[in-house]
């Protein structure tokens, strides 16, 4: 049963991240995804210290606020400080992450987080932290907290993409057309950043702050290589994410290594294999074209 919960949670994490990641890749904001997933740590710690609760709403609020602050501050530094945009991103997220780590080590006794779980997450322990429906004594266990957290975020992500599909498409591929059509591009930018923050914070328990970057960018990049439509890319990215989870879990089982790290590594290996296949196909097709040219 525990395995099922772990795989279910990991799958939701991987698919939500892959869907959001598609837009990050297409909008060339992969590094922003990296930055937000780091900064979210500070959001979680601050939210926890301020309210003393680990409820989903509190964590989501903290993370989304910090995520948006990261995006806004990087953008402002870029414009006002006249820094390259990736430099401003780098300055902001390293600072936020550093403050997060310092707060964790200062309040080590109070915060139910340690440096380790920031990095790996602890997906193996996910099944033990369950939510009980009703009063403590005679309530019904309805499953792990992390599962429900990412489940809700997954629904939000899915709904946003389905409902806002046309808008997101225009904003992603033709930002200037979007402006001329009167679409609020800034709003959609920050909306996307909100989705990224929500996904990372909900994935935090399961895979930690940094491995989620792998799930955001790698399946989406693999899909980017093999598809040519937005809809196709979203489906294929989700499939790559799901495949990484299943195979990664197997590898972790065999090697007795961290599950989340193995999933991320598998995602990378799948991308690698995709590239190898594409390169081979390119060689073969290249030859065929050359031969065809010779023959004619």
């Amino acid at each position: 049963m525990n395995d099922v919960w772990i795989i279910a949670t990991a799958s939701l994490v991987a698919i939500s991240s892959a869907l959001v990641g598609v837009f990050l890749i297409l909008r060339r904001q992969a590094l922003m995804g990296d930055a937000i997933s780091h900064s979210v740590l500070l959001g979680i710690v601050l939210a926890y210290l301020a309210t003393d609760s680990r409820s989903l709403t509190v964590m989501l609020t903290g993370a989304v606020l910090i995520g948006l602050l990261t995006a806004w501050l990087s953008d402002t530094l870029h414009k006002v400080g006249k820094l390259q945009s990736d430099a401003s991103i780098g300055i902001v997220f390293t600072l936020f992450f550093a403050i997060g780590v310092i707060l964790i080590s200062i309040y080590a006794g109070q915060v139910d987080l340690d440096q380790e779980c920031v990095l790996y997450g602890e997906i193996a322990f996910v099944p033990f932290d369950t939510i009980v429906w009703g009063s403590d004594a005679d309530g019904i266990e309805i499953g792990p907290r992390a599962f429900w957290a990412i489940g809700i975020v997954f629904l939000i992500v899915l709904t946003s993409i389905v409902v806002g599909f046309e808008r997101l498409k225009t904003v992603t591929f033709h930002p200037s057309l979007a402006v001329s059509l009167g679409i609020n591009v800034v709003f959609w930018h920050y909306f996307l950043m909100t989705l990224v923050s929500m996904t990372t914070v909900a994935s935090f328990d399961a895979v930690g702050a940094i491995l989620v970057v792998a799930l955001l960018v790698i399946p989406a990049s693999s899909a980017y290589l093999v598809t040519s439509s937005l809809k196709g890319m979203l489906w294929v990215a989700a499939a790559y994410g799901q495949a990484s989870v299943l195979m990664g879990y197997g590898i972790a089982f065999l090697l007795d290594s961290s599950i989340s790290a193995s999933i991320a590594v598998t995602a990378g290996l799948l991308l690698f294999m995709t590239i190898v296949v594409l390169e081979i196909r390119k060689k073969i097709f290249g030859k065929q074209i050359k031969e065809a040219l010779k023959a004619s």
């Binding site: 992969a30 600072l95 380790e116 491995l211 970057v213």
Partner: protein
Amino acid sequence: MMEGFTLLDPLTLSPPSTWQLLFEFWQFNDMNVLWVLMGSILLGVSASVIGSFAFLRRRSLIGDALAHAALPGVMMAFLLFHTRDPLVMFLGAVTSSFIGFFIIDWLPKNTKIKPDAALAITLSFFFALGLMLLSFIQGMEVENKSGLDKILFGQAAAMTQEDITLLMYVTIFILIAVVLFFQKFRLIAFNTNFARSLGMAVNRYELLLALLIVMSVVVGLQLVGVVLMAAVLLTPIATARMWSDELRNILFLAGAVGAISAIISTQISYLAPAMPTGPWMVVSLSSLFFLSLLFAPKKGLVKRYLMQRQLRQKVLEENILRTLYKLWERSQFEQNDFNISDIQALRAMSTLNLRKALKQLCRRDLLKESARGFRLTENGLEQATQLTRRHRLWENYLNEHLELSPDQVHSQAERIEHILTLEQEKQLEEELKDSRKDPHGNRIPDAQVRTQTGSKST
């Protein structure tokens, strides 16, 4: 088994006060403290300097990716050789960082994947691989494995004598290399194509630069950690850039910034040995950055804001003076006595701002209070005439030489009248020898006494 530095005497039962500890720190009774301090200063300096070139090559976050990419190398080296010898670790880390570097380079050139995605992919994949190996090692029955995870966030207190010796050799090597190849690196950083056209082996130097970056990243891992190494390469140059425009100065400043943050974080590590050093280094670096961003003497935001406000004030005052001239002109140069509503009839301004500006003008002896409100003083008249003259000359110039229609010229002249210099005014006059009137038919006032030559012409 190698032992970490114990910066705090574990036998001290009653914890001494912070000041006492700081005092002890600077006495350097403990030679180890001195070593750690010197090591971290050297690292701060060399990473900042080499990071500057990465920044100038517009690859600010390369350090982030390379630091993450070093992780699996360290773990692999440990897995293969079962030792924590710094040199073995170092070579392992350099190898895997370099593989990471080539992937970052290769992906965008050979696939559709964009450079930023390539960076994020490499970073997260290598990091995941490193963590996977680390978790695998932690499950194994081997000696020496504790402390491997210290390179994630860095811990100065856990550095061994060998670590520091290696750190010093490597950082000094980096600094010497930068000094030797300064000219070449500068050329590549600012204009790669030009460097290529000079016949420089650009690729070779880029590779050397990459190697130096990789080395400083790798050697800094134990002090700063994988996750935050990016900041040590990036933030110092961003800070130094606020203070100077000259590369040599910027590099020295960046080095100094790196050194200061190294000193601060080493002290904190001494005061609280459980604290990871890396985050403190980043926080002190970022504080220096934000202080510079705000208060740097030339490019700081505060200075820029003040200058903008000054300029706005100047424009406002000059606009008032010119409006007064116009009013005076309309009264056939007879009535030099105006009130606020006269001014507002000609130029829309909020009463509050106008009052403030008028007071300021009075204080500077350009206006005087009079029966109806204000009158221009001798000085004020002179300045108002000059401004009007510049405005109308410019209108004429645009009209005659650029063939703009009279209704197009006003708004342009409105802007330029505030920044034209005396010299330019004379040049305009030379160009427009015959014109006495602007395109709207108003007379161009003669230059005042100060510009003697102007009044003589025609």
